[in-house]
């Protein structure tokens, strides 16, 4: 019983983190066909910015919800900066044949982290949860597994953000522009859409999502640099597993990685060795069976 509860709690909470990171990857991929490898780093940058604003600037005397809004804007700006320094200078390019973006986005993430370490803090920090209690409930222990209000906030906010993102993409004019650029950049341009702005906006949204993730995950993972690898790599695995470019796929991929990770952790004490083996084996199997991921669609070109 305990193992099941632990797997469910882990799968939902850590899976939510992967969902948010995967959505960030997807937003950028949908409009540019590149993978923004700075996405994991942006979450950490967002965490440090949030700590700096909340603890250093405001001395802890400001509602964290307000700080979250500020951070979402700030990391959105950082996302735009990533676009400006890592993608724009490459000019017009075919992301399939010119893979410079792979290095430039990765480098942008490292530079952003280093700048934060030099200017804000180079050691671990903490942020309080967005909510200490929900309707008087302050947390429970179920089958030796602790469940905190912050966990519920993380899962609910993730699902709300994903739903909002889906609505934004399918029901707004800008969302339509996103889809148009994703389908055919040149045709979209001929229809009066400015692809550069759309791409920039996708980077801004991905950055904003990273900022939101940072505040949500801080009570569970802390604000620290050494989570970048897990966030970046497993978030990417989640995105590819679900199907790059698909928001629904990000949700399925994120929770799949979270649940598998949690299940392995619950079964064995040697989880640090087995988790990557099982997750990546699953990754390979899914891609072997469905090369475009679970919900990805193959690109068909008319000739």
């Amino acid at each position: 019983m305990g193992e099941i509860v632990q797997t469910v709690v882990y799968g939902l909470t850590i899976g939510s983190v992967y969902v948010l990171v995967a959505c960030g990857y997807n937003l950028v991929f949908a409009t540019t066909r590149i993978v923004n490898f700075a996405q994991g780093a942006l979450v950490v940058v967002g965490g440090y910015l949030a700590w700096w604003v909340y603890a250093e600037l405001a001395g802890g005397n400001v509602p964290l919800v307000l700080v979250t809004l500020v951070i979402v804007v700030l990391t959105g700006g950082v996302g735009v900066l990533v676009d400006l320094v890592a993608i724009t200078p490459l000019g017009r390019f075919d992301p399939v044949t010119n893979i410079s973006w792979l290095v430039t986005t990765f480098a942008a993430g490292i530079v952003a982290q280093e700048l934060v370490a030099k200017t804000i803090s180079d050691t671990g920090q903490t942020l309080p949860p967005l909510a200490d209690s929900i309707l008087g409930w302050q947390g429970s222990v179920v089958a030796d597994v602790a469940i905190q209000p912050a966990d519920v906030v993380l899962v609910v906010t993730t699902l709300a953000a994903v739903a909002g993102l889906g609505a934004f993409q399918s029901r707004t004019r800008i969302g339509g522009a996103f889809r148009a650029v994703a389908q055919d950049r040149q045709a979209a341009s001929l229809m009066g859409i400015n692809p550069r702005r759309v791409v920039m906006l996708s980077f801004a949204l991905a950055g904003a999502l990273a900022g939101l993730s940072a505040v949500l995950v801080a009570p569970r993972l802390g604000v620290r640099f050494n989570i970048v690898l897990n966030l970046g790599v497993l978030g990417f695995v989640a995105a590819v597993l679900g199907g790059l470019g698909s928001i629904k796929g990000a949700v399925i991929g994120g929770y799949a990685v979270g649940f598998v990770d949690g299940l392995v952790g619950s079964i064995t004490s040697d989880a640090t060795a087995w988790q990557p083996i099982v997750v990546f084996a699953l990754f390979v199997i899914v891609l072997a069976l469905r090369p475009t991921g679970l919900l990805g669609r193959p690109q068909v070109e008319k000739v």
């Binding site: 780093a41 050691t123 671990g124 947390g139 030796d144 597994v145 897990n230 952790g265 004490s269």
Partner: protein, 496 residues
Amino acid sequence: MRRPVDRRTFLAWSGRTSLAGMAMLGAWGPLGGVAGGRRFVGVADSVTGRLPKRLKVGVIVPTSGIGQFLGEIVDRSLNASLQHVRAERLMKGTEVDYEIVNAPAEQFADATTAAYNKLVADPDVIGILWCTPNGIREARPQIRRDNIPVIGVYADLWSEGTLYPDGSERSIFQMLLPDRMSFDALARYAAKDRGYRTAGLIHDSTTLANAGDLFQAAAKKQGLRVAGTEEFQIFSGDYGAQLQRLKQDAPQALFVWGLSDNTAGIIRGLDALDAGYVDTPTAKSTAEWRPHILGYPGGTGEKKWAELAGDAAKVGTITAWYLGGLIGGPQFAIRGWLADAGEQAPSGGEETPANGFWALLAAAKKAGSTDRAEMVRALEGLSTRFAGLKYGFTPKRHLSLTPDEICLISLERYTGPVETDPPYELGREWETTFPEIRPDYVGPAHLLRPTLEANKRANPGYMTQILEEGWGTQCTKTPPGALGADVKMSKACKVH
């Protein structure tokens, strides 16, 4: 990916990657050969029986990337030490300096090998401070060949059984408190002082991979039954599954071995499970699981750990440390040197590079030469004092510490002792040293009682001063407030 944490960060983060193997090949390849060929120039130029006009200590440390904080601590420490050496004219007639060569942790032994080759080829360099856990194992064949004095400041060869005389590299020495000694001291405390019968471990498998073996050996030695051993990665943020299993095994003492970011997360996880430490009787109780936390110096021994863990960091959490490294103690000289040099106040660990630096200078001074073999012989007979308390080496002991110097430190809060019946007392540092460092200091303080007799054997003068002036967490004294070398202390307060 970045910056694991505070000072002793990636101890034992040995080159376990293929990079390490590549670096090894490089060491024996053309680059190593060139450096090896040039190294003798320095020895030949040195004047036996008289020190040269100029000498340098080489320092291998990361000054960028993940381990940058180590470089900052080392540079701060050496800058203050150098200014002190110059001001006091401790090396009269000889111009002294140090040279730091960056060895980014991300490049493992590749970087340390390059740094070593650069330093060993410099005729002014008399010895090397190895201020990173990386690369020293891979460099051992080169060091044996070059016979240059190397002092492991953040490298723990002793715990692995590869420090001379167990290993064959006679010119390697170690300043760092070894993990094996820490485990032994804590297991002894758990079994003999607290009377616990079971112990569990949760450890970082990335940077402290051999912690499991060291724990098992220490527990066995003290007759503790091992109830649960769990691992986590340095990149981990969730410890729910491990804590759930440990709760089922319910060890009375829980060894938490990892860096402060991770271990603070574990302690918060325990608190969320209503498993926070209260006192010894509760830890022994079978009614609920509230284990006594015994921790790793680079984790629970850090002020940062207490800050990250917040209220979950309970008073009574015990960490192994050593007498010469107590920043709150009355004889921590480098605290003043740092202030004189305009550096920030010590956060712990500053004494180790400083003492290594002085050990090399003192050996050259004692040998009257920078000849490597003579310096090694001088180091083997060295007994000196610099940043803190007395330290030294012998021909049979290349580790600067002895087990009698190991002490325990206990987490305390600036708000004063927790309420216990009978009460216990906090020492003088809470009114003098810590307010200088930070008025609201929360962190470890010397816990006197458990290792008192051994510490008296190791450094009687220092311990007399401690007892007569009332430093350190004083446990429960009879009568309360008593001072003096023979003051009686008891564990009646039950928290530590």
